[in-house]
């Protein structure tokens, strides 16, 4: 073999890089297209249905001049497509319109509510991973033994419990009876410790069912990986069971876990909306339900767009994480 790097290796590397770049570009295009289609679907569902959105919002007893004012504000005299483009342009420039009930810019409303909803979802996600990782490893390592059985039975229960009911039980026990945590409300971030205390119970209620699902996925992924030939190779090299599990199985089992984690985000978000109502937290969930009861369509369509945006972006990030974790860069199609 001649000295210097063989041209074949260089070419292979360059090809890999080119594939990676193409993969990223492709995923980015899909991301943007998805966001665009999603915005069209949302706008059409909320404002495109037959009937007059303004009179729907104001109800039957609306004064004619109020109705006219709202129609003008919403641009209802314009064609539908023009209104959509106007709305889309507003979204892109950060202008979500003005709330019809609160009379303030929707962007500001959402920003304030995100300060509750985002930390809540984040804490819940971390909590569920922190619970699922050791439980899944334990169950897979002690497969078909007592501890595995106990973990599996626990997860069956965890999946079956509705998170809002679990939240109610938490409130009865931990907040009302023992008074460890506040039963609801949010004091704001000026006192971070109090704020975290207020988010603790909601986060636990959100995280537990997610952790149960994650544990089961991790366990079955690990067990499948443990049956692979390369685990036998690792054992033949002298790795102990535990070391083969953590050094070789875990990383390979992360791919299905990542998939589920990405998909779970949408459940987490939906769960957060409901949980916020149990705990009277001033997050996006409360905002959207108030908006629905007050028929504030401008707020509804913007908040839904934000939620869908979050899910789509998280899915995109999951795809990027695949590429980081898996050198084979498996593409999904």
């Amino acid at each position: 073999m001649s000295a210097g790097i063989c041209p074949l290796t260089v070419r292979r590397r360059r090809q890999t890089l080119a594939l990676m770049r193409r993969y990223l570009i492709r995923r980015l295009i899909v991301l943007l297209a998805s966001l665009w289609v999603a915005s069209a679907v949302i706008f059409t569902l909320v404002e495109g249905v037959p009937g007059d959105p303004a009179s729907f919002m104001l109800g039957v007893n609306a004064a004619p001049d109020t109705l006219a004012a709202l129609r003008a504000q919403m641009g209802l005299d314009q064609p539908f497509v023009w209104r959509y483009l106007h709305w889309l342009g507003g979204l892109l420039s950060g202008d979500f319109g003005t709330s019809f009930t609160y009379k303030v810019p929707v962007a500001g409303l959402i920003g304030a509510r995100l300060a509750v909803s985002l930390p809540l979802a984040g804490i819940a996600l971390c909590l569920s991973v922190a619970l699922a990782l050791p439980m899944g490893l334990l169950a897979a390592a002690r497969r078909a033994r007592l501890s595995d059985g106990a973990v599996m039975a626990g997860t069956q229960l965890g999946i079956a419990v509705p998170n809002f009911w679990f939240a109610m039980l938490l409130v009865v026990l931990l907040a009302v009876r023992w008074q460890w945590f506040p039963a609801g409300g949010f004091p704001g971030w000026s006192d971070p410790l109090m704020a975290l205390r207020a988010l603790t119970l909601p986060a636990i209620a959100l995280a537990l069912p997610q952790a149960a699902i994650l544990t089961r996925v991790l366990r079955s992924a690990l067990i499948e990986t443990l049956g692979q030939d390369y685990i036998r190779t690792a054992r033949a090299k002298g790795l102990s069971r535990a070391r083969a599990l953590t050094r070789h199985a875990l990383r390979n089992a992360l791919i299905p876990v990542l998939t589920i984690l990405g998909l779970q985000f949408s459940f987490l978000l939906a769960g957060a909306i409901i949980i916020e109502n149990v705990f009277y937290l001033p997050g996006l969930g409360r905002l959207i339900f108030q908006a629905i009861t007050q028929r504030d369509l401008i707020v509804v369509e913007s908040v839904v767009m934000i939620l869908v945006f979050a899910v789509i972006v998280v899915n995109f990030l999951t795809d990027l994480a695949y590429a980081a974790v898996d050198p084979r860069l498996r593409r999904r199609t």
Partner: protein, 271 residues
Amino acid sequence: MKLSLIIGGVLSGAALLAALISLVWTPYDVTALHIAHKLQGPSAAHWLGTDHFGRDIASMLMAGARTSLAVALVAVTIGMGLGVPLGLWAAARRGSWLDEGIMRANDLIFAFPSLVIAILITATFGPSATNAIIAIGIFNIPVFARVTRAGALSLWQLDYIRAAQVAGKGRARISGEHILPNIANLLIVQGTIQFSLGILAEAGLSYVGLGAQPPTPSWGRMLAEAQTMVTLAPHVAIMPGLAIVLTVLGLNLLGDGLRDALDPRLRGRLA
């Protein structure tokens, strides 16, 4: 495991039975209010106690089972009815524009959790149980499409499919004759999972007021109404919650049991 099949069968069977019986008989009329008997604990007259209007909780749970199971069943039917053909079609045309289109559309629907769909529908049409069915049903479509496509793709690699092609059979015929029967297990198991998720989702939607409306009885709304008096009379909140937990647990155990029972590798051992 046989045990999970038995426990799962018993629990889901009990829920189904309660729902069916409630069609013709409940211990008390679920719409009749008896304020004098409100918030009673479990007794011989009211097995599970009464709620804040004095209604019999056992009767309401039976009637609520009807709503839950019906919503979940129709939603699974929608998801299977549309998702399975789409998945089969995408797999039969693997790598084509059609496949790509179906899968991207699936991804897009996945970005709309059923709660968000329900919010959108409610915002324009107002809340109803039909909302819940449509919202959960739409979310089920990509679930079944993905499971079907993944199962079908691995089967399309097998030699018996090539043998069928050599025997002159077209993609549609092969999908119906060879692919579908061999992924039926997969679909039955996924069906029970989606069924139990549907019950949870319906409860959540009704709880926040986007699902079944009064006077239709619903477990989720019972919980919502119980929330304000949970410290006064905990049983009002505990009973509907237990009903949900036991039904969902039963369906999940049934799904697990079915998966093991239908696994051809395990069945071969018995044959």
